[in-house]
């Protein structure tokens, strides 16, 4: 059996780009609300919930569960602290319970 790289395989692969790939953690990286990830509209659309746009947090939790941000540290305070990432969180408990 030979590995394939046909069109169908590539279409399946692109989903990976949203959650895999090297992460760059540095002050030089453009961030959204201090999250060096995809943009807010895209995150909200992927989450499929309008409230994501308001809070901008739950999607990150989902990404964290699915992908490389599995070293998330949840802190019950005004801020939710991630390893190397800090985002303002109006509802940190929501994040923990998602």
């Amino acid at each position: 059996m030979k590995p394939s790289r046909d069109e169908h395989a590539i279409v399946d692969l692109v989903d990976v780009l949203l959650r895999e790939g090297a992460l760059l953690q540095a002050d030089v990286v453009v961030t959204v609300a201090d999250i060096p990830l995809i943009g807010l509209n895209l995150r909200a659309a992927l989450a499929g919930m309008a409230t994501m746009t308001e809070y901008g947090i739950l999607m990150l939790c989902r990404i964290a569960r699915l992908g490389r941000l599995n070293r998330v540290i949840f802190v019950e305070s005004e801020e939710t602290e991630y390893v190397g990432i800090r985002i303002p969180s109006p509802h940190p408990r929501m994040c923990c319970e998602s």
């Binding site: 059996m1 030979k2 590995p3 394939s4 790289r5 395989a9 590539i10 279409v11 399946d12 692969l13 692109v14 989903d15 990976v16 780009l17 949203l18 959650r19 895999e20 790939g21 090297a22 992460l23 760059l24 953690q25 540095a26 002050d27 030089v28 990286v29 453009v30 961030t31 959204v32 609300a33 060096p36 990830l37 995809i38 943009g39 807010l40 509209n41 895209l42 909200a44 659309a45 992927l46 499929g48 308001e54 809070y55 901008g56 947090i57 989902r62 990404i63 699915l66 490389r68 190397g84 985002i87 303002p88 109006p90």
Partner: protein, 281 residues
Amino acid sequence: MTDTPDASTSFERGRYLFCAVQTDTEQSLAVDGIEGGSVEVLTRGDLGAVVQPVDSLFDSDDMTTVHRWLLSHQRVVDAASESFGTPVPFRFDTIIKGGDEEVYAWLRSHAAELTEALDSFAGRGEYRIELEWDEAIIREEVIAEDDELVDLTSRINDAGKGTGYLLEKQYKQQLSDRLADRRTALAQTLRERIADQAKAIETLDTTSMLLENTHTDNSSSDESEQTTESVVTLSVLAARRNQDAIGDVLSEFASDPALSVTYTGPWPPYSHAPTIGEGDQ
């Protein structure tokens, strides 16, 4: 409230970072970037950053647009792979603030990490393997091989309504447990069989973040009849010279009529890529 997209996703100057490669030659890549942008390779020492000048994040709630961007991203990383060997591929929408000078500074300050990652990827690629089974066939096999299930079937047939109901529940639970055990054992066997050929193996969560929004035409009514289920999906970082040996193992699995295997690659090692700059914070 978080920042609004307009306020936070645009900036004066930025460099969209596709991947890092091993090269000491600055050049343009003959491939279109995202939305047709130009793609440059900026170098410091023997490290190169494959970048595209941008002034905002690529951000949209239109999944078709996002899908097109992702394909463009992949095309650029593929082109870089062909020219420079296996790269360190960055996640979609990784953008360095500033211009070329900031990219040079970043290459300099992270040279050790990038070099280590590139060395570990040299000559290797990511291969994705999905093992599926026909649940109906496996179920029959499990039932035929399991004495307890055979015994339960017999007791159900002889039992009255109330007892029969309870025994059926017990039967279903036991069958479910046996199938789960078989699934776990099969996945483990696959991992063990290819382990010698791989530098790293990861089990993937294949929950799609994107395809569920873009592939709506696959859910035909015929699928309700299908009993094919995924057993495990693996991402394997392996030397390209080992891909045929892995393929031979997979052929053995695929020769079982109850099993099917999808084997793709070599891809840039997205699933095995490191975090660069972890100590910066």
